[in-house]
């Protein structure tokens, strides 16, 4: 299978990839770059587990071809994490018990980060609406909404 060269930015680093035209972005991130925090739950755009940031916007990496990422900036859960401390969203998820198996969690965190970065004052309805595209089978959603509400303070501070 012939490949196409693409250049993009992944978690802040200039990245070159040679990918088959039919490769989805999620597979390229996971298999070519080893960024396995982006999870593929359905590969149909239904579950939201594979959500990444594309130029800051939350998008599903299973619904994009890798070649479409050329020239764009991608951020994955790894790019939103650091080894020293949990981020405010991660800490809030932990505090509120907003995860059990953790498979949907990277997609939840990335989606919530996109929302709170743009709108640190988002109310519960807005959060619920934004996360309605991310499925969880373990916890139910109440603790997840509570965690995102709790994390708003850190984003409000960052804005101020």
């Amino acid at each position: 299978m012939p490949t196409l060269p693409i250049d993009c930015t992944v978690n802040g680093a200039a990245t070159h990839l040679d990918v088959a035209p039919r490769t989805i972005l999620a597979d390229a991130l996971r298999q070519d770059l080893g960024l396995t925090g982006t999870h593929v739950g359905c590969a149909h755009g239904s579950c939201g587990a594979c959500t990444i940031l594309l130029d800051g916007a939350a998008v599903r990496s299973c619904l994009m071809l890798a070649v479409q990422a050329a020239g764009h900036a991608i951020t994955t859960i790894e790019g939103l994490s650091n080894p020293d401390a949990l981020t405010p969203l991660q800490a809030a998820f932990r505090k509120h018990g907003a995860l059990q198996c953790g498979f949907c969690t990277p997609g939840m965190i990335v989606t919530a980060h996109a929302l709170l970065s743009a709108n640190p004052d988002a109310d519960a309805d807005t959060i619920r609406d934004m996360l309605s595209g991310n499925l969880c089978r373990c916890t139910g959603y109440i603790s997840i909404i509570e965690a995102v509400l709790d994390a708003r303070a850190a984003y409000q501070e960052a804005r101020a």
Binding site: G34, K95, F103
Partner: protein, 627 residues
Amino acid sequence: MNAPLVGQPIERIEDLRLLRGAGCFTDDIAAPDALAAVILRSPLAHGLITRLDTEAAQKLPGVVSIITARTIGMPVPTIPLRLAPLAELVPYEQPVIAQDRVRYVGEPIAMVVATSAAIAEDALDLIELEIAPLPAIVTNDDAAAAAALLFPDSGSNLCITYTARLGDAAQEFPGAIIVEDDFSTQRHTAATMETRGLLARWDAARGHLTVHGAAKAPWAGRRMLARQLGLDEFSIDMIAVDVGGGFGMRGEFYPEDFLVPFAARHLDRPVKWIEDRREHLLSANHAREFDAHLQLILSPAGDILAVRGRARCNLGAYMRANASIAPRNVAQFFSGPYRIPNIAIDTDVFLTNKTPTGTYRGPGRFETDFFRERLLDLAAERLGMDRVVLRRRNLITSAQMPHPIATVSAPVKAEELDSGDYAETLDRCLGAIGWDRLQPLRGQRINGRHHGVAVGCFIEGGAAGPSEHARLELGADGMVDVFVGSSMVGQGLETVLLQISADALGLPMERLRIFHGSTTYLRIGFGSFHSRSTVMGGTAILNAATTLKEAIRAAAGRRLNCAPDEVLLGAGTATNPSGAIVNWAELAADVPAAPGQFDNHTHTYAYGAHAAHVGVDIATGHVEIFD
């Protein structure tokens, strides 16, 4: 010692990796040398395979092998029952791959192994498959009418009938009120966020197989696989990694649990298979599809005298490893937490051309709880009694325990409810939802929604089954390693078992490491199902901790010149009566690994009550849950 960790709200240790996307689920295991497997599945519910030509597919560059029943050798192995096995169910076990007949949409027919999943999927399209269709048996009525037989040799689509009996429900009940109705529950499936997946490696020189992606009951899976492959059990390692949801579905032995390791050995190459979502919906265990006609017999004063009737299970195409549980439970647990002195319920288990079923979140109990609680509401209406009064009147009291429940035929085991205060959970539930305040809303139409309020009581089995095992090892770094047979299915096992371990040893959690669920950690272990891992694995750890502390006391006594029982253990320290102190780390070489085991073959039952306030939009059928 500080306050016990058990009972404290501890932030989970597994969260630190899962929140960062740094967990390791099966497909996250780096295996650049692995071939990819994809499976050709039956597009028809029922039929005879008349042609299976893999020649064109085999020629596609990148395709390494196409495995069919012929590759494996006919008759191919079947998957035995793990739970409640019976000789009469053996004919209905699922073969690991279809041979000449397909019985459900999704049944494996061939497996393509190629250098990438994409190429393997391309090759699927090149396999020439022809199936002569047979009538599809979809419903229990179809199965009973038997326009076609799934297993022609058996002469019927009725796989087995389980009977639950207590007292004499067939007797006359003069003057009694009989309430009866038909009930049904629809099919469900687990739809875990992470689909199933396996990575198998064969080491030809050692004759050793390693299978990543094990879950739930890895030791049982290893035993089945060893028998099917003609290997010694200890020639196989089952490795559990992070698991994206279990719900009863994951970790049972499926066709792929044979096919993927078989391919790795057959080809002497690592093989990875990751289920896609469509396959998951077609092939992982379904659950819940029952119907029933039941009679509840009550005295005019509202005492339940008997229940009798028949339930039917739409089993799907085969009797899978844990498929006997739900139909048994539907019959056995109809009585739930209530005093029903006479019980006669039969469950007919019908083979149909649907995906086979298995356990899922309270198998059989969800179904029969609905049947019972609905009958109680109907009975209350008929008797003109308050629904709560009727329930409370019939709940088994603590003074009436132990209280027998119905015995199910084959395998027969008498069961009883040994303790509990069922009325208290009912009262607390009603208080929590504000039952009295909600009563005026019942049946009201408000903003286009009809309001309904209901309550139900239930029991839930757990904390039993085969023995569980653990081993504790004190290291020269002063850390204690905890090895346990319980497996993680996404439920927070690591934190819970470390809380228990830390309390038992008087150490902070940071001084402990946990290793669980892989057969490499323990020679014998079992796993997580039936709500058992905290009790079974946790108690095995407690027993091991007692042994470890004795060994530490003995070693410290020798070092500090005192009797073992004079040694005072602190958090990683041992002190003699004169105050001389030694750290556990210094004793490590003298402290042998401490095994622990816990057995509980008696079923125990938790209990509760559940109330809901919902609104139904009659125009659309949409249900909104208010509380």
